[in-house]
Amino acid sequence: MDLIAVARIAVRALARNKMRSTLTMLGIIIGVGAVIAMVGVGQGAQQQVQQQIAAMGSNILFVGSGTVTRGGTHMGWGATKTLIYADMLAILRECPAVKAAAPGSNTSTQVVFGNDNWATRINGTEPQYFDIRNWPFQEGSAFTQQDVEMAANVAVIGESVRKNLFAATDPLGQTIRIKSLPFKIVGVLAQKGTSAAMGDDQDDVVLVPITTLQKKITGQDWLRWIMVSASSRQASYAAQEQITSLLRDRHRIRAGQDDDFMVRNLADMADLADQAGGVMTMLLASIASVSLIVGGIGIMNIMLVSVTERTREIGIRMAIGATERNVQSQFLTEAVVLSLIGGAIGIVFGMGASYLITKALGWVVLISPLAVVTAVVFSMTMGIFFGFYPARKAAHLNPIEALRYE
């Protein structure tokens, strides 16, 4: 019998008891759906990280003060005071792979507009920061180098700050108060969204000239970080080495001692984030796969019941000339058809779940064709694996006894 005929017979046999077939498929449906949705969530998150990092430019380096207390992706920098403005000038001067650099420091405090206030981060920096970070403005523009020299009271706000303090009013030209000091708004940044790598809201920020921050707000003259862009992605690795050795030298760090700063290459970060994302995706998929295995066990269970119920029928078929192989492939096909149809429905179910997740939580969910194909192959394998034992049982029935079965 050719494959199509066998499959058709299997479908008819399954259709004879639609309720039972549907309930059996449920395990596979949920399993496949869960795997697809989970992989989609994982891959969506990964893609988001990559997109954001790409948007920042892949040749960016982050130089932070203080040692890394934790390894890997989380950047917890301590409060050493050794990173200074002169370091940045030295980097620009003496590291050939470096194209531009911007200083940075920050604090958290209330920002007041009229009767409203909003607690946010105040970052101090210089105008080239916005170029390095590839951050466009939706209104106005950055403060100027002159503003920096004069420590002017000007500010640039992010979209979240705008939303929370200004609502319908145009912020441009308005005055906000930071630590009771008035600041004129000269620019509003375009929306960047949540940082996928660090989880914080990038738009919840107010930027002022570094000099203003240091002299009038924090009173601290050291830097928290320096944002550096290398001349190319290739050069970023060289830049990382150059900056590291330069700063170790300037800070008089001897061999064997830890750095009192850290240099993070964004390309590395991207890879790390990708890896972490990949691990997370794998983890989610594995957990979801458990339900798939449960579904497979369900199929085996029902097939065993089915074989017992149809003992007489098997005896008749054998008497009429079905070989053991005929009987085995008949039942194996039923199991495979069950799992394939379950898999197909599961894919639809998974896509639906992904859509709901996107709507409800706002996460990006990516359905990759690879995940779909893998799900189909996996569910078919489940069918073959879990259908094998019942099929063999059926094939090894003694026809004479089977015919006598009540």
């Binding site: 019998m1 008749i316 078929r317 054998m318 009429i320 000339g321 053991e324």
Partner: protein, 284 residues
């Protein structure tokens, strides 16, 4: 030419006497020198078949040396009480089981040495089964039931369906091909079963108490069909415990305690069609 294995000189003699009316086979322990009839195109040759099986701790000797020939075109009724070995014999005859010792040749093929899947092929092509309980698949139509053996015979779907229709025609049920067994009477179901048994044009039809679940009139109708098929040349072996039914066959073989007790031609054979005419028609 005499087959060496069948001649005198063995422990248990088989004497065959042929006369005008009957063929009597007797088993005796004395030496009897009698001429032996040549079984020419014997469809079935059974030689000293024994069958043992384990029943818990005991070993049951179900068949204790069965030897017989069934020639093409014969209509044999096998009778015997339960425990006589007739069911075991039918299972071996139908290639559902293999003898523990002895030989069974069907159409010249030594069946006793075949593998399971080869036996399945023999069952498919050469043997047709009819059971007491009809044994149709309940959720398939009559036509599909009859088609079933063709699915295992590697014929195309079209040819299988064609053959199935012909077979249903032969038993007079061509207008019921789309009915399910639950929509058919007992007699009709058995007719579908007969059609199924015929669909691959077998050498021999084995019927195990085919009229056991039918009323008297329907029983005769079924036997009439079998008689017609036999007249057309099909070899039929029928198992029954009803003497009346056995008289429609041409030859009866009596089993007792695992042996053939009697093997004789039927005297004054009635044909089913004659009997049918004399039976009263049932009123619904």
């Amino acid at each position: 030419m005499p087959d060496q294995k069948w001649g005198p000189g063995q422990q248990t003699q088989i004497g065959i006497k042929a006369n005008a009316e009957k063929l009597v086979v007797t088993m005796s322990k004395s030496e009897i020198d009698v001429p032996i009839r040549q079984p020419m195109e014997a469809t079935i040759r059974i030689l000293d078949v024994h069958k043992y099986y384990e029943l818990g701790e005991t070993r049951v000797h179900a068949l204790r040396g069965i030897t017989m020939d069934i020639v093409g075109g014969e209509f044999v009724a096998i009778m015997g009480a339960s425990g006589s070995g007739k069911s075991t014999f039918m299972n071996i005859l139908g290639c559902l089981d293999k003898p523990s010792s002895g030989k069974y040749c069907l159409d010249g093929i030594d069946v006793s040495s075949l593998r399971k899947d080869e036996l399945a092929a023999i069952r498919n092509r050469k043997i047709g089964f009819v059971f007491q309980g009809f044994n149709l698949l309940s959720r398939t139509t009559a036509l599909e039931n009859v088609e079933l053996p063709t699915l295992y015979a590697q014929v195309s779907k079209e040819e299988g369906e064609e053959r199935a229709r012909e077979a249903l025609d032969l038993v007079g049920l061509e207008d019921r091909s789309t009915h399910f067994p639950s929509q058919l009477s007992g007699g009709q179901q058995q007719r579908v079963a007969i059609a199924r048994a015929l669909v691959n044009k077998p050498s021999i039809l084995l019927a195990d108490e085919p009229t056991g679940n039918l009323d008297s009139r329907t029983s005769v109708e079924i036997i009439e069909i079998l008689g017609r098929l036999n007249d057309a040349g099909l070899t039929i072996v029928l198992v029954t415990h009803e003497h009346d039914i056995s008289q429609f066959a041409k030859r009866t073989i009596q089993f007792r305690d695992g042996r053939v007790r009697r093997d004789e031609l039927v005297v004054n054979r009635q044909t089913a069609s004659e009997v049918l005419k004399s039976l009263p028609v049932e009123e619904d």
